[in-house]
């Protein structure tokens, strides 16, 4: 094994590398979607794959998302491992029936005889100045659908690791890629096999004793920033990056909250019936007697995603997170 210098890479590059490595390792891995071939995807995540592996392995499909996912189902039935790209979050909706009624259920419907190892890549979330329908946080829909795994990376290394793990999984995995982190950079060594993370494990990104911020994907850097800012207020915040929404890592999350006694869930998705409700509820079920305050939520508003010029008001930012932390009934303690 050659030693490769740890160099800065973007999340998009790590995703490309994950696809390339997976395709090189396993000839049954096929990429398909709109513009994924010649163009290399609108975010360039599939850049170079058609050239390297041929158009049969990385295929520009007709413009029809249900068709893309539906044919991927058939390909998986025949032993391939399709990796599907949905161009943007909202453009995955036409494939919803295929996703819920087939992708999520085929293993179960056939008593395990017909698993569907399909990876569904969905660039999601806001913060990139996208016009309407280009910035949805659609994770609640996927989380509420038994049979799907749902993962979302917040770091370059996790982007690689989770995508490789998704492709390796014998089950369908929805990989939610935070659009606004595509160009975020980290020092990252692509040759390090450690970067392949198993699906289902959260990670503590920052240890702290005052309260836990439970978050994922695009909100992780925001929470880390908030934790830094919180030091000035005397709070030592722990930040848990869920990485996997399904399965949910109750162990890591509950352990953290039991330690800190306070928690705030942070995500871009709308609050009502969003991921935060589930997370708050299950943390409360498990840690009730350790809680000094109710688990609070800092989330997007319950509105259609706003236009570029207003999105900063919608996205959970450092101030809003600190406001929530401040409401964690500190008086009650002292």
């Amino acid at each position: 094994m050659t030693t490769v210098a740890v160099k800065p890479a973007t999340m998009a590059q790590a995703l490309t590398r994950a696809l390339r490595d997976a395709m090189a390792a396993d000839p049954s891995v096929h990429v398909l979607g709109e513009d994924v071939g010649t163009l290399g995807g609108v975010f360039r995540v599939t850049d170079g794959l058609a050239k390297e592996f041929g158009e049969d392995r990385c295929t520009d499909t007709p413009l029809a998302e249900a068709g893309i996912l539906g044919t991927a189902v058939g390909m998986a039935m025949y032993g391939l491992r399709p990796v599907v790209e949905m161009q943007f979050d909202a453009f995955a909706y036409p494939a919803f029936e295929q996703l819920v009624s087939h992708v999520a259920r085929m293993r179960n419907r056939t008593r395990g005889r017909m698993p569907l190892p399909i990876t569904i890549r969905v660039p999601y979330g806001g913060g990139i100045g996208g016009v309407e329908h280009h910035s949805d946080s659609s994770e609640a829909y996927y989380m509420a659908t038994p049979g799907l795994h749902v993962v979302t990376p917040a770091t370059v290394a996790d982007a690689y690791g989770l995508l490789r793990a998704a492709i390796a999984s014998d089950d369908p995995v929805v990989v939610l890629e935070p659009k606004r982190l595509y160009w975020s950079k980290d020092a990252w060594n692509p040759e390090d096999p450690q970067t392949v993370e198993p699906i289902g494990r959260a990670v503590v990104r920052r240890s702290g004793r005052s309260a836990t911020l439970i978050t994922y994907g695009p909100s992780v850097p925001v929470c880390l920033e908030a934790a830094e800012a919180a030091r000035a207020e005397g709070w030592d915040l722990e930040v848990v990056d869920l990485r996997s929404l399904v399965p949910f890592d109750d162990e890591t999350v509950s352990a953290s909250v039991r330690r800190t006694g306070r928690a705030v869930v942070v995500h871009e998705s709308g609050s009502f019936a969003g991921p935060g409700g589930e997370i708050a509820a299950r943390v409360t079920e498990r840690c009730f007697h350790h809680l000094e305050a109710p688990v609070l939520r800092v989330a997007g508003f319950d509105i259609p995603y706003p236009p570029p010029m207003l999105e900063r008001h919608h996205l959970p930012g450092v101030d809003r997170i600190l406001d929530a932390v401040a409401r964690l009934q500190w008086e009650a303690e002292s």
Partner: protein, 377 residues
Amino acid sequence: MTVMEQRGAYRPTPPPAWQPRTDPAPLLPDAEPYRVLGTEAAAQADPELLRRLYAQLVRGRRYNAQATALTKQGRLAVYPSSTGQEACEVAAALVLEERDWLFPSYRDTLAVVARGVDPVEALTLLRGDWHTGYDPYEHRVAPLCTPLATQLPHAVGLAHAARLKGDDVVALAMVGDGGTSEGDFHEALNFAAVWQAPVVFLVQNNGFAISVPLAKQTAAPSLAHKAVGYGMPGRLVDGNDAAAVHQVLSEAVRHARAGGGPTLVEAVTYRVEAHTNADDATRYRVDAEVETWREHDPILLLEREMTARGLLDDETRQAARDDAETLAADLRARMNQDATLDPMDLFDHVYAEPTPQLREQRAQLRAELDAEKEGTH
């Protein structure tokens, strides 16, 4: 003067990119459904094939009757009968090689059975117990599909994958006239044509989607006319003429296998029974209509032809009937046994490995069932 009136009058210089890539003419269906039985074409039909079709039709009719009877006895949760459509069901199964794949819709358990799946397994889903019963890989039959037209892209993807792998496999996908209105029908046919996937789409136009007649479903000259819009051949066939359906499907399968791409076949047939045992067809159609179709019954048409050609003696009839009765008796006997189901199965196949959350829920149900058994509840 309108564009239409001017037809042929102008010789325009087309825009640079314009070139008709396919000649539409051979893609268009004939004006009338293709028939074999009772026509000159029948002379060329293989007597062996006719005998085989006959035996299968009789068996299929009996199967339908038995399954319907089982609903009355509470042994099936629901049964969508294919009585009157046996020619399509049977031909769809018979035209395929072992390595090929069949993609049935929810009405097509007869095709599944004709392909060799144990009828009890074919009916597992409709019985109300474990989901799709049979192992799809054993006979290469996709699970019965209830959400309409959603199985069509699956068939395309599978056929495409087989072709990419260099396998000589054809997929035949079945759908109803109503199902052709769904977006998935459109997307599947388009993908198939663009990829030149070896797929045959068989539309059983049985006149109704539950209560909705074809005239409210489409204004097209025929459903087969949809094919040209995808760049694939459309074929129209009398769906009650088993020899014709068999021939048209065989040709489509051969065409697909030879790399010629997909074909859309519309078989004109009729749903003689109600939509399912739960449906009341008298609310939306008159008996007289059903009666005209009984005159055009698939078994009747074949019997007439075979009788005329001296291919149907009493022995053949009796053998077919006996075979059908054996099937029915076996089905009755086995379906009348109570299914035993393990509720723990509910958790075992949601994922390859149950999530921690499912393990908790599994333990909860286990505890409940144990408590139930011990009578503590």
